[in-house]
Amino acid sequence: MWRCVRLAVAAFLCVPSSCTESKDGAAPAGRTAVRVQLNWVPEPEFGGIFAAQQDGLYSLAGLDVDIRKGGSQVPVAQLVASGQADFGVMTAEDVLTLRDRGGELVAVFAIFQENPTGFLLHESNPITTLEQLWTSSSTVAVDANPPFVRLLNLQFGGKDLKLVPYTGALAGFLASKDAVQQCFITAEPVECRLRGVPTRVLSIAPVFNPYAAVLATRASTASANPAMVESFVRATSEGWRRYFADPAKYNPAIAALNPSMSIEAMNMAAELERPLIVPADGSAIGSMRPARWQQLERELVQVGTIAAGRTPSAGALWTPPSGSNSGATSTKP
């Protein structure tokens, strides 16, 4: 009965919608049903996942993957931790925060090596640095009190800033020359360029550079079914390799699921995200370094998201059972 209660609560929190024909729990014989919850609408930032799906890499690995689209209000970390999804795309801070609150999540694959989050300004805006922005009286559309806002507040004050919710829509930005909003370097700036609106992007990576999008699963899933997790990670990694080899081959299928972004914009986004996703040091796509998780943990303590003395980063990284470099983790410090 309590399982029913838990399911009802999770269903109440979010009714995820499926990107593909949903086959809830009914995988073809011999294949394992896997639900992947995205944290945003289908875009090139999930290119490798869609490429693996399109080329049948998941099927070859014995997985029947159902990709579910997300949105700004979808609590992906909670859905994964409660078993409503098997894998979810979330930020590294989501993983550590929920682990700190008792959620048993482990990160298995980092999509972005470099943080693609930034602030989008009109080119005519005289502000050119994060410090200038954070000491101005601009109105900035941003997520509700994320760690990077608190870090910027600690560094620069930000007392005169007016922070308003970031909804992902561009209308407000286009309507005002003074508007500033949070963005993914690979999304909104591209959309603006295609509309002929000159913009400037201030990356937040110099101040806050954790893994901005990781695939995570439940620790219990990973320990009970390590072969499944490894197969999923390998297929996803190969999906990314194929996606970057020819993004134009895969973007039409993604665009079909997200009519608000054109194929042209997706092709441009793929090129922009390549240097942020493919590790510069030659390690495999998806690799993660424990040191960066520990740094994020220190930052989360600094901004008060987690209490001092707590160490949710310990065990937050999944290690493949084969020990081979499947693209999941790296032992580099």
């Binding site: 309590w2 209660v5 838990r6 609560v9 999770a10 929190l13 209000q73 609590p75 970390a77 909670q78 931790a81 409660s82 989501d94 925060t97 929920l98 609150r101 008792g102 959620g103 109105t139 941003v142 997520d143 509700a144 009190n145 994320p146 806002v149 507040n153 930000g158 800033l161 007016k162 922070l163 308003v164 919710p165 909804t167 829509a169 209308a171 407000g172 309507a175 998201t305």
Partner: protein, 267 residues
């Protein structure tokens, strides 16, 4: 039954209901072992409320201000417009159907649009609250004034009363109980409208209203704080509802059947 016993009964039964739900909830959470980030216990919610009391109090004040001003605007506009529409048959036929469209508009969907037209923060919360609160007041006012006893209307005509005088002396008092009902419905809706407005354009940081507190707590996986903030939005709704009910009762208590019957029953 004495007035005091009646008051105790009126407050006691609902309180008992709340207590039963809270106790069942607390034990349910404790026995099931459901994760606190999915469903916190009432005790955890109370703790979150206490620990964040300063921040929550200022957030609640901001949300209450937005909802109250939005409600007041809707009440004034709805009462005035409703009266004009009820007075002029042509307007009633042409504008009333249009007004019902207001009720059909999902404020969640139009909120991002409204953001383009009014300032962020309080103005947006006020507008959003006013939009959802307007229709119940408007509809109740129009229906209330349209349902005046025809015999009494004839009596006013017979005595040569002007249209405006009849409105002031007959239509308006006659419609008061109906309008009061509309206002009570609008009071609860205004809070929902204000929070929706805050979701798209409430200020963050130290100026955060409850809508933003809910979003930020959700992001931080602080489900206990989400519940605490949601509970406070209902407190704002109850307060507004209570204030409106009181004013409505004061206006009709001496003469209208609904109020008189109620006090007869108590006696």
């Amino acid at each position: 039954m004495s007035a005091r016993a009646a008051a105790v009964r009126a407050v006691g039964w609902p309180l008992l209901g709340v207590a039963i739900v809270l106790v069942a909830w607390q034990f349910g959470v404790m026995l099931s072992g459901v994760a606190p980030y999915l469903l916190p216990s009432p005790a955890a919610i109370a703790r979150a409320m206490w620990e964040g009391r300063d921040m929550l109090a200022s957030a609640m004040a901001r949300t209450a201000l937005g909802a109250a001003i939005g409600f007041a605007c809707a009440a004034a506009a709805g009462g005035l417009l409703g009266s004009v529409i009820a007075l002029i048959p042509f307007l009633r036929r042409s504008l009333y159907p249009l007004a019902t469209v207001l009720q059909m508009v999902p404020v969640v969907a139009v909120a991002p649009l409204l953001q383009l037209w009014v300032d962020n923060g309080l103005p947006m919360a006020i507008l959003s609250a006013a939009i959802v609160a307007l229709f119940p007041v408007l509809a109740a006012t129009i229906d209330g004034q349209a349902s005046v006893d025809p015999g009494l209307r004839e009596l006013f005509k017979l005595h040569g009363a002007t249209r405006l005088r009849r409105w002031w002396k007959l239509d308006l008092p006659w419609s008061l109980p109906a309008t009061a009902t509309g206002l009570r419905i609008a009071a609860g809706l205004a809070v929902i409208g204000a929070v929706v407005g805050e979701f798209v354009s409430g200020y963050g940081g130290t100026r955060a209203p409850l809508g933003i507190v809910i979003q930020a707590a959700m992001r931080d996986a602080r489900t206990d704080l989400v519940f605490a903030a949601v509970a406070l939005t209902t407190v704002v709704g109850f307060a507004l509802f209570g204030a409106v009910s009181l004013v409505g009762w004061l206006l009709v208590r001496r003469w209208h059947a609904s109020a008189v019957n109620d006090s007869e029953e108590r006696r």
